[in-house]
């Protein structure tokens, strides 16, 4: 299995992401954002975390115009799997590959800590190795993770089973760190091939670092 990890100016989680994907047996190639096409036979494209273009204007707003994003859009259009983590999620929202928008955290602080996540749906490739109701421990690290979508859009997300993960405490009770609508931490598109989440599964792949739950998530892409 081959994965492409896209690197923008200001991306800073690309090596952690590469490490995590290689750990579960992916061959990984880094793709600079100036590239206009992706290699053939890529099984997964990951937009990693960081601060692409310094978060200028809005997080992810400038990155969507990088040449590689046209290729990523076409790849997704053809059914290819795309995963956006943190800033990658913000880029997918700005690119309209996923619905909704990100706002500053409700308490206006940058939050960096381990957080509980509850699996809401596993009827998709990404979370296929998890069970509904599973509680995962994954680090979050963001200042703009306050997910917003209007009521109509939210209803569509639920109707199509697109809400994948919500924030919770260690017992699975709802615990909202950033003000996101319905404590949503991760979603997918209607076709269920484009995924976005604010937490960092790639930072939870070694028990010595506190959790291996990220492996369970990423392994879904192995099929």
């Amino acid at each position: 299995m081959r994965a492409a990890v896209v690197v923008f100016p200001g991306t800073n989680c690309e090596f952690d992401t590469k490490y995590a994907l290689e750990k579960i047996s992916f061959d990984v190639e880094m793709v600079w954002h100036k590239e206009e096409s992706l290699s053939e036979n890529i099984d997964l494209v990951v937009l990693p975390g960081g601060f692409s273009y310094g978060d200028y204007l809005r997080s992810g707003a400038i990155s969507k115009f990088s040449p590689v994003m046209k290729a990523v859009g076409e790849y997704a259009e053809n059914g290819g799997y795309v995963l956006g983590i943190c800033n990658g999620f913000q880029i997918l929202l700005e690119s309209h590959l996923l619905p909704g928008a990100m706002m500053k955290n409700k308490n206006v602080h940058f939050i960096s800590k381990y957080h509980g996540l509850k699996v809401v749906s596993n009827e998709n490739r990404f979370l296929s190795k998890t069970k509904v109701g599973d509680i995962l421990r994954i680090p979050i690290a963001h200042g703009e993770g306050n997910y917003y979508i209007d009521e109509e859009g939210l209803k569509r997300l639920y109707d199509n089973d697109q809400v994948l993960l919500t924030y919770c405490d260690e017992n699975g009770e709802e615990l909202n760190p950033n003000g996101s609508v319905d404590s949503i931490a991760g979603i997918c598109n209607e076709k269920k091939n484009v995924f976005g989440l604010m937490p960092h599964p790639e930072r939870a792949v070694e028990s010595i670092l506190g959790s291996e739950d990220g492996i369970k998530m990423l392994e879904g892409f192995l099929g």
């Binding site: 929202l93 909704g100 706002m103 500053k104 955290n105 206006v108 917003y148």
Partner: protein, 79 residues
């Protein structure tokens, strides 16, 4: 020509920054403030004479980049 674009969060969308500033003003004793909304002011220096045409172009800029119309409104002033 100078064009000013004001971008603000839509009504009904909670403004975390505005709320924090509102709270801080309250702590300073400015009890008369009923609400605070924070936005962005983007000043463009644009070539051209035709104000209507410029406004139309800047509107496209707003839709494509300057504002995220999912959560933000924009207002254009051509000076």
């Amino acid at each position: 020509m100078k064009v000013v674009v004001n971008v603000s969060l839509k009504e009904g969308v909670l403004d975390p920054q505005g709320k924090a500033v509102h709270h801080a003003l309250g702590s300073l004793g400015f009890d008369e403030v009923n609400g605070v909304r924070i936005g962005k002011r983007i000043v463009l220096d644009v070539d051209g004479e035709d104000k209507e045409k410029i406004k139309e172009r800047v509107k496209t800029m707003c839709e494509e980049l300057l504002a995220n119309t999912v959560i933000e409104d924009y207002f254009i002033e051509v000076e």
